[in-house]
């Protein structure tokens, strides 16, 4: 039992000084890295070099391989081929443990703390300070020094507080503090800002700039181009598992960067102009409130109209949609096609003609190991054709095939597990699942998350055709461009409230950008 302990803590390894003052700058390079997962290629011969004192950002579409690159470099994934060179020394068979011993730390996209343990223990885990007795842990030293680490990263929490009570932003900062504990001077941030508010992001960027001032080697991933231009000293673009370009932020325009990311000029999609003034109201939400998440939300959608819900992550958009659909409790009224929709639950929502495409496809959407066919019919099991009490497989197959065709799902067969499909095809299958339910009102939460460019265009045309058939649509999206292209009207949610509304040609990127940070228009 104690053997394990001794091995993973070589004698002499102690927590590093909180200010990182004993550190030697070094560059970290990855050469010709290749990596595949279950046959899918995530990286094919990609090389990148991180220099001390720079914030080096990787950008690219979902699935381009950015995150895989950082994970390989931090020892989370073992590369199939390629070399990792830290300050001239080649690193072999890297694991997170050996990476940290070499001073390399990855702050993951979603912080993974040990929820049942205290903040201080999460800080020191894996490198607990030793007391004099053999194998013993020096709790006093831990609690005493934790404060100075927390202070360095700007984290103000009680060290004894359980990690489960920390906010996401606090957890991110704790991860950064942990990097200091581990004497790491190469720190990678894998999309750290995706769930932070603007203020929290600024706090994190401040910390990153300070670390840069101390000649730390910093890697960063973000989807938000504003952030990329704000913080980066160097930008590397990945596309289709390869490095395609490298830029200095002041030598490149936003458009050039986007073109490099998607590999082609995005076909200009025109906004559609439609007159919906005569259409009847399909969904009316009146004073919907849920403690902490949002309050007094009211809006309505007409038949055939596409309404956008804009807002930052954490603004309450998803919570509102989930409450309307009945996944989470809320007070207030919802009226569907003129009928009050009480005792809300997903089952009764679907029966009443309201559907919701969840944001988190992996957890809430697909049944990864289940056949495509049954994924498509999952929401309509209750109305599948039957012979007495028994389902009719042949009829079901026909229905699923038709639905798959309608949304152009590409798959070798309906009988393969959905996890073997690409993100775009999985999302097409989700659309076919929900279209089978014959909705009158559809809520799409991040409809193009994790899908490639081609699938995106397809999904836009699917949404167009759905709205043309008179179905009322609510779209939630973090991509403002998407809202500009698709919506007839957009309302902005800020801190759980509806703050502003725009319609028609007034929907522009700039306008939406100011709306989602709470600025009231005019």
């Amino acid at each position: 039992m104690s053997i394990a302990v001794r091995r993973h803590q070589p004698a002499g390894v102690r927590p590093g000084p909180p200010d990182g003052s004993d550190y030697v700058p070094s560059s970290y390079e990855a050469r010709q890295i290749a990596k595949s997962f279950a046959g899918a290629r995530a990286l094919t011969g990609a090389s990148v070099r991180f220099e001390p004192g720079t914030i080096h950002t990787l950008v690219g579409e979902n699935g381009a391989g950015k995150s895989t690159m950082l994970k390989v470099m931090a020892g989370v994934h073992r590369p199939d081929a390629g070399e990792l060179i830290l300050g001239g020394e080649q690193l072999r068979s890297l694991t997170p443990r050996t990476a940290q011993q070499h001073g390399i730390y990855l702050v993951p996209q979603e912080p993974t703390l040990m929820a049942t343990l205290s903040a201080v223990e999460n800080l020191f885990v894996g490198i607990l300070p030793r007391a004099r007795l053999p194998f013993s842990v020096d709790w006093r030293a831990m609690t005493q020094t934790a404060g100075s680490y927390f202070e360095q990263v700007g984290l103000d929490v009680d060290p004894r507080q359980p990690a489960s009570t920390l906010s996401i932003a606090q957890q991110q900062l704790l991860e950064c503090a942990r990097a200091l504990v581990h004497r790491c001077n190469v720190i990678f941030f894998d999309e750290p800002t995706s769930s932070l508010t603007a203020h929290e992001t600024e706090v994190l960027f401040d910390l990153m700039r300070r670390l840069r001032g101390r000649s730390f080697t910093l890697g960063f991933i973000s989807h938000r181009l504003d952030e990329v231009f704000e913080i980066s000293d160097r930008i590397t673009v990945l596309r289709d598992a390869q490095i395609v370009a490298e830029f200095l932020p002041d030598k490149v325009t936003r458009e050039e960067l986007v073109t490099a990311m998607v590999g082609k000029e995005i076909a200009k999609r025109e906004r559609r102009h439609r007159d919906l003034s005569g259409a009847e109201t399909a969904l009316e939400v009146d004073g919907l409130s849920a403690s902490r998440a949002f309050s007094e939300i009211s809006f309505s959608v007409r038949r055939g109209e596409v309404l956008g819900l804009a807002g930052l992550v954490g603004s309450g958009r998803t919570e509102i949609a989930e409450s309307i659909f009945g996944v989470r409790p809320a007070t207030g009224g919802v009226v569907l096609e003129g009928r009050p929709f009480r005792r809300r639950s997903p089952a009764s929502a679907i029966a009443a003609g309201l559907i919701y495409l969840p944001e988190d496809r992996g957890h809430h959407g697909v049944f990864a190991n289940v056949e495509l066919e049954r994924n498509i019919t999952a929401a309509t099991v209750g109305v599948l054709p039957r012979f007495g009490p028994l389902l009719r497989p042949a009829a079901e197959k026909e229905i699923a095939a038709k639905a798959a065709e309608r949304t152009r799902v590409r798959a070798a067969s309906l009988q393969i597990p959905i996890k073997s499909l690409s993100g775009g095809n999985q999302q097409r299958a989700m659309f076919s699942r929900w279209l089978l339910a014959e909705p009158k009102v559809a809520i799409f939460d991040e409809p193009t998350r994790g899908v490639d460019v081609g699938a995106k265009a397809d999904i836009y045309s699917i949404i167009d055709s759905i709205s043309d058939s008179g179905i009322a649509i609510v779209i939630i999206s973090s991509e403002l461009e998407e809202l500009v292209l698709l919506c007839d009207r957009v309302i902005a949610i800020y801190e759980g409230r509806v703050v502003s509304e725009v319609a028609g040609d007034e929907i522009t990127l700039e306008r939406l950008g100011s709306m989602i940070v709470g600025e009231v228009a005019k």
Binding site: V5, S21, T116, G126, A131, L133, R214
Partner: protein, 364 residues
């Protein structure tokens, strides 16, 4: 160069935890060990009031000695529960250790001091086999230990053949049933020793802390540089070792052992019940061994009290069942962060619509 100074402005406190407004009831429930001690004493005193024979020194030392095999097993069970595992095979490990040492004692008059390392070694080996299946074959622990429960039980029967252990040297009987001084039976010594030792190891060593880290979030522990597989393996080995010790304790206390020892009383389930009543959870990363030890005593006292109070003995396992339900309900209440009334109201209001909880990591 100086450090990264000046310090950054502190991050405003996020979602304020509901900890500040904890009710008195919640605080009491959080102190599981104290609660159990209080309950044990209460049960004891009530029973004593009804039947003064319950409080005699002979009975007290009997209760203490009688609870020890279970207590030792419960300590081991807590350790695997902390790493988010479970070990059903402890009953058979206890049995194998009891009959192996028992026959050596009966036939060869083997010294108990030789049998102690033997029992521990048997336990470690069998525990390691469990751990290897969990770690290498990635079979869920409940299935692995269900399988090894059957296999080890077979080994136990093979060792016995048609015989049973019926006589052991006097020293064994002394250890199992006599007192060290006044009311303190010899049996209490290994039980307390194991509990205190494990409590210190869990709290004060990096091995102990890595058990909690792995149980709390194995992926995060892996990323933090902890050798997850080694930690898991060690947890099953220690649990097996304690089950082996429990086997020796069983032998000296009952002066006998046979092919059914351990499994016939479903002691593996009792040990799980004791661990959970003691405040350890199946979801890992929480709990400790002191609670499990006290919970074993609590179960023993309660069961004996039930008999003394005139309830037929057959209801003793029902009593355990009810206590187990109560314990997990208390856990549920504690972890929910709402008051009991809110919890009930929310549950009632929910009706058919449920808020799905995000399933994180592996279950069981």
């Amino acid at each position: 160069m100086t450090g990264i100074s000046p310090s950054l402005p502190p991050m405003p406190a996020g979602r304020a935890p509901a900890r500040q407004r904890r009710s008195a009831l919640r605080r009491l429930l959080a102190q599981r060990e104290l609660l159990l001690v209080a309950l044990t004493l209460a049960v004891f005193l009530v029973t004593f009031a009804v039947n003064s024979g319950f409080g005699t020194s002979g009975n007290i030392s009997f209760l203490l000695a009688d609870a020890m095999p279970l207590a030792i097993l419960a300590v081991g069970q807590s350790i695997v529960c902390i790493v988010r595992g479970i070990d059903l095979s402890v009953a058979s490990i206890l049995g194998v250790a009891a009959v192996s040492t028992g026959f050596l004692a009966q036939d060869h008059n083997a010294s108990v001091w030789l049998m102690l390392p033997l029992a521990l070694a048997i336990g470690v080996c069998l525990g390691l086999i469990n751990g290897l299946f969990v770690v290498l074959a990635r079979i869920p622990p409940i299935i692995v230990t269900l399988g090894t429960l059957i296999v080890y039980q077979g080994v136990q029967l093979l060792i016995c053949g048609s015989r049973t252990v019926v006589t052991v040297p006097t020293f064994y009987i002394t250890l199992g049933n006599r007192n060290l001084f006044s009311d303190i039976p010899y049996m209490l010594v290994p039980g307390l020793l194991v509990t205190v030792l494990m409590a210190i190891l869990l709290r004060r060593t990096s091995w102990g802390r890595s058990l909690y880290a792995v149980g709390s979030n194995a992926d995060a522990a892996f990323r933090a540089g902890i050798r997850v597989n080694a930690v898991l393996l060690s947890a099953y080995a220690v649990c097996g070792m304690l089950a082996g010790l429990g086997g020796l304790a069983f032998l000296v206390h009952y002066d006998s052992a046979n092919g059914q020892s351990g499994i016939e009383t479903n002691i593996q389930l009792w040990s799980i019940a004791a661990a959970l009543i003691g405040g350890t959870t199946l979801t890992g990363g929480k709990g400790g061994v002191v609670g499990s030890f006290i919970a074993a005593l609590f179960l023993e006292v309660t069961i004996e009290a039930v008999i003394v109070l005139g309830v037929p003995q057959v209801w003793d396992s029902a009593a355990v069942g009810i206590l187990l339900l109560a314990a997990i309900l208390v856990d549920r209440y504690q972890s929910s962060g709402t008051s009991l009334r809110q919890l009930l109201a929310a549950t009632l209001a929910r009706g058919a619509q449920q808020r799905p909880e995000r399933v994180t990591g592996e279950r069981r």
